[in-house]
């Protein structure tokens, strides 16, 4: 899985490309989140547009990232998840944990609201 990182406003967007399935991806993801939290970047949007599928180990990777930023006082949301991935989040009830947005500006607004509170 390839991860591209970009900053927009007060959030970091991680554009994922490939399959979120554990293995080496887990180590890569943990390193990315450790680096972000170390830099004080705790508002993270995970762009799933180019993730073709995710397995339960991949869900664990997302939860690990969520835990990291929440401990630092931030949040993790997802955007542009396919119907296939949305249905997995729904079945596992992780839709209650991860806020999910269709558009990037909607996801960014979630953090804008946080910043103005």
């Amino acid at each position: 899985m390839k991860i591209t990182q970009r900053e927009v406003g007060n959030a970091v967007i991680l554009d994922l490309n490939g399959k979120l399935q554990g293995g080496a991806d887990a180590d890569t993801f943990r390193e990315v989140f450790k680096s972000l939290v170390d830099q004080g970047k705790k508002n993270v949007i995970v762009n799933l547009e180019k993730v073709s599928w995710i397995n339960s180990t991949g869900l664990g990777i997302l939860i690990s990232g969520y835990t990291s930023v929440r401990r630092a006082g931030g949040d993790l949301v997802v955007m542009r998840a396919s119907d296939r991935i949305e249905s997995i989040l729904y079945v596992t009830k992780l839709n209650l944990l991860f806020k999910s947005y269709e558009a990037e500006d909607e996801a960014l607004k979630a953090f804008s609201a946080t910043a103005s509170e």
């Binding site: 554990g22 397995n55 664990g60």
Partner: protein
């Protein structure tokens, strides 16, 4: 269509990198048999979980062990068998765990996903290892599922 049947057998190394090949095979074969795209995705999602279990908990990533995936289509159903070569995992105990687990738990959702996205899921144990059987019926939905371990 009902008199047609086709079987494909894949043997993949115990490495997550090969899960994509399983997904591709399911998509290709299902397209030939005109399964609805949503049903195909459901089956593939469940099958990827079964293979993930076989790689991680069954073969424990052993390089000399393979996961054998048998895909079988007939007119009404898509059946997948996933066999590992390891000691397997305690699926009876896993089935007793709460589903879904604690929301913050990073593990424990595989069986839930397999159950939710198929019409039938069953594990059997033999001398050679564990076998997981998944069935997705052509008209299947998320009602009336079977979920068992023999």
């Amino acid at each position: 269509m009902s008199d047609r049947a086709q079987e494909m057998i894949l043997r993949i190394p115990s490495d997550f990198r090969y899960l994509g090949a399983v997904d591709a095979a399911v998509q290709d074969l299902a397209r030939e048999f005109a399964f609805a795209p949503d049903a195909v995705n459901d089956m593939s999602t469940a099958l990827i979980e079964a293979c993930s279990n076989a790689i991680e908990h069954g073969n424990r990533y052993a390089k000399d062990k393979r996961v054998t995936v048998t895909l079988r289509f007939n007119g009404d159903a898509f059946t997948a068998l996933v066999r590992d070569q390891g000691r397997g995992f305690d699926f009876e105990a896993a089935l007793r765990q709460p589903h879904p687990p604690d929301p913050m738990s990073e593990r424990g959702r595989g069986l839930l996903i397999m159950k939710a996205f198929t019409d039938s899921m069953r594990y059997t144990r033999s001398r050679d290892g564990l076998c997981c059987e998944l069935i997705k019926r052509r008209s299947g939905d998320l009602e009336g599922q079977e979920w068992s371990a023999d």
